[in-house]
Symmetry: C2
């Protein structure tokens, strides 16, 4: 039996903190932040939630894997953005799916898809449900007979491993730990570790162009995909396994980032690699974020290709326990399954020194520096912590983008200014906005902002909407992308529409209409319903 997931937040039901642990954490966090309530609010229990009755019932032939059960509908009603968790925490489920399918093989995916389309329903492909952009919710489907969510998580097998080409054929519903566990039996790893790793799936990563472990070269799942297989209303879309191709427009690049609007991804061949055995890492201190940014720019233009190159501003380093708030921190690392990487590290540190970076110790082998370790732990703990933040009235959310280096300083200042100003308007001036680089390119960094602020209980959605609007406007006006790796979903649509070239929008709509004529697939995402 699968462990039950928490219906309103992060993780499994059996790993939630006890009331006492929650109070202790609340006390610590409010002292640390200077705002929030030490008295955690309790979520509305699911037993008190009245869901709208399902508008559809699955036919008898699908009843073995389709359900209208309340817990299933609530669990699949939202992703895991701040907005989602607040709504679920408060027991507000306006648009849950009517039916949740848990197909156990591709035939059942096809059967669910066929039935849903014939019934006039909208179809939401669902992986880990960790979308932070409203990618999996059933809003705005009034013109459909109902909403059928197809949860792919039972398709979780590594089906085939090619140790010669270092590739593996993996089912789309495999969550991070499941696929890594199976690959590890071959001494291999995909090494795609988004923050949602514990719960998100390969298919979700591909559909949303997820960002992973590598700070350079293989930054997005896009770069690890060898071929994709998806079920569309017009038939099976399966590309050839190829190391690379130049045959016209790439079919894979049209599915990657399609966010469930063109088909249901069922499996993919991905590029895997032997587990690294050589490692070098160091936390490098910089007087401030801009000094660190100059070092990262030099590193990303050097051709050294560090595996980790995450620059964290002073305040964020402090909040996550990786620094004391007096300096920016660069988490720098190299790894290889093939060769010692100390030489690379030495050259990268020389580059940092040229830009005023200092460090006290270097880690190697499988040990990492303490600050690096602290930061990594905080990274994986963050989604759990957010549930606590919500309970104690702390607004906690992130947004991210990318920009070229020439525009970075002005852009960053503009975004910080806009968010700070919004925090003043909606949170009385308290709260922080911090920043880190998650990935880096020769022509610019990917910027990841974290907002922590005192929430007005019951008014969180409006508060966040205003902050998010200010941030997104600043990002789009400054020339950035509305998302580097969180996808568009329903929440980024207004800004995505400003970002994308008009003829491209028309072309993509033409592509969708050709293979999904009823517009069944994930309406509202990328396209209007």
């Amino acid at each position: 039996m699968a462990r039950a997931l928490k219906h309103w937040g992060w993780g499994y039901e059996d790993e939630q903190p006890s009331p006492q642990e929650l109070r202790d954490t609340a006390g610590f966090l409010t002292r640390h932040l200077g705002f929030g309530s030490a008295d955690p609010e309790r979520p509305v229990p699911l037993s008190d939630v009245l869901l709208p009755p399902p508008r559809l019932r699955p036919p008898e032939s699908l009843s073995a894997f389709c359900s209208t059960d309340g817990y299933e509908r609530a669990l699949h009603a939202y992703g895991r953005s701040y907005r989602d968790i607040v709504r679920a925490f408060r027991g507000r489920f306006d648009h849950p799916p009517d039916v949740v399918a848990h197909p156990r093989d591709e035939g059942e995916v096809q059967a669910a898809l066929d039935w849903a389309i014939s019934a006039g329903a909208a179809v939401i492909p669902f992986g880990g449900g960790t979308s932070v952009v409203g990618g999996v919710e059933g809003a705005a489907c009034e013109n459909y007979a109902g909403v059928v969510t197809i949860d792919l998580k039972a398709l979780d097998k590594v089906l085939e491993v090619d140790p010669v080409s270092l590739s593996a054929r993996i089912q789309a519903g495999a969550i991070g730990p499941r696929l890594e566990e199976q690959l590890s039996q071959y001494g291999l790893t995909l090494r795609h570790f988004p923050q949602s790793f514990q719960f998100s799936t390969l298919g979700g990563w591909i559909a949303t162009r997820a960002g992973g472990h590598f700070a350079t070269i293989y930054t997005h799942i896009d770069d690890l995909v060898e071929s994709v297989r998806a079920l569309t209303p017009a038939g099976v879309w399966e590309s050839r396994r190829l190391p690379s191709s130049g045959a016209g427009v790439s079919p894979d690049r049209m599915l990657i980032g399609s966010e469930g609007t063109l088909g249901v991804i069922t499996e993919a061949w991905v590029r895997v690699r032997p587990r690294p055995i050589h490692r070098a890492s160091a936390p490098v201190r910089f007087a401030d974020f801009s000094a660190g940014a100059e070092a990262v720019r030099a590193l990303s233009q050097s051709g050294l290709y560090p595996t980790n190159c995450r620059l964290i501003d002073a305040r964020e380093a402090e909040v996550t326990g990786a620094g004391d708030g007096t300096h920016a921190l660069l988490v720098l690392g190299f790894e290889s399954a093939d060769h010692d990487v100390e030489r690379w590290m030495t050259m990268a540190l020389e580059c940092c020194a040229d830009h005023g970076g200092t460090w006290e110790r270097r880690g190697s082998g499988n040990r990492a520096g303490e600050a690096v370790g602290n930061w990594r732990e905080a990274f994986l703990r963050a989604p759990y912590l957010r549930d606590v933040f919500i309970a104690i009235g702390v607004l906690s959310e992130t947004f991210e983008t990318a920009i070229t280096w020439d525009r970075f300083p002005t852009f960053h200042e503009h975004v910080l200014g806009a968010v700070t100003s919004a925090l003043r308007d909606v949170c009385g001036g308290a709260g922080t906005v911090t920043c880190r680089f998650t990935h880096t390119y020769p022509d610019g960094p990917a910027l990841y902002y974290t907002v922590l602020a005192p929430a007005r209980r019951g008014g969180e959605l409006e508060q966040w909407a205003e902050i998010k609007r200010a941030a997104s406007d600043a990002v789009i006006e400054g020339g950035g992308t509305i998302t580097h790796h969180h996808a568009v979903g329903r929440e980024h649509r207004p800004w995505y529409d400003r970002q994308r070239p008009e003829p491209f929008a028309a072309a993509l709509a033409g592509a969708k209409a050709a293979i999904d004529p009823t517009g069944a697939l994930n309406p509202g995402v990328l396209f209007d319903p």
Copy 2:
């Protein structure tokens, strides 16, 4: 005044060999190959060619840059495949464009496009005209009022350089030497060197997903594109300048590889870099191609990322003067603008030694080994030589693909077998098919085959069609791609149609119909006219 290009083959009219030089070369080549005629045939002079009369005349308002001149129409009638050159050599121009436009700015591109569409004409965007897949010819346009070819070469400026982000905004019509010359004034380089470099354009590279200088990581122009601007019948398609993005399906990846069917690319921001100052290279010998392939596989999975990693089989090494025919040769090289690369080279050579590779000397700085130099020179000379081959009755053509490592040995054997068998059938068993790796990936190599065989004068097109059919069938049946970097054009259509997923073909056709409703843009390429 622009130098006049040769209307039937490679290069400028003023750099063609004299009759005596041609006879000397012919003598040398026929002795070297063991077939061909020492008495070169002469091309049909353009003055003897009767072109079909133009079906369209440009309006007065466009007459300053549009022409129906015979030389212009002949020059733009074909690309530069063997098939193209044979036809032009023999004075056969069945489907020349009716009008050739040479717009001097984007406004004139727009005017030409608008007029052509309103006149019911087909529009062929034209860069260097070096397509080897029938990408720019006016065949199968019977249902159009005529064919208007838009030659972009007057749009040849580097418009803007961003030395901070290492990017440059360049007009699509800039040929390789023109853009490198302008970038060199800033100490920068794009370093995209396809074999056609001397004559092909940035816009052509983007439209066809050209392969360039780098054997790893930045193998295709795709990886060097930061944003693209194109004129489409539905308006301007211009993406934002971004180091990376995860906002839905990539607009750039839909234009890249569209081969002129979605719009006329007018400019792009591309990723440039400082000119390399550290270099290391070595020719490494292997007993045979498969031993070399194992070394290249190990190298491409090592994370060392060599700049050059081209494995040449024994026969091809001999033909190009890089070897004596007894061994396969790996042209291995590293380069950097940032750091000494001797350490990388040492590790790569250790990897080669593990797989039986041997070498006598290593080059460094700006000197390269003699064998490496010979090979590079032969690489750039090849398109010129082909004109001579045609004159002396030697069939000379290439085809290329990519395959994963696990299937490589069987695939390669199958392809060689199919072509050898076709050579037996159509060339009496004489002739050679040789192979090199042009680019290499962790999951497989890009294979480039060269065919040299005795041609039957007047029967070359049929001979080559049969060989090409055998090769392409073998490539597609074996699971490869019909092209790694030569594009699809009109010549690869039958195999491309077998390769691409059906729903993708429908989606792409829907995308095209949405922005090019009259199907004016490059009919016959990727889609039916």
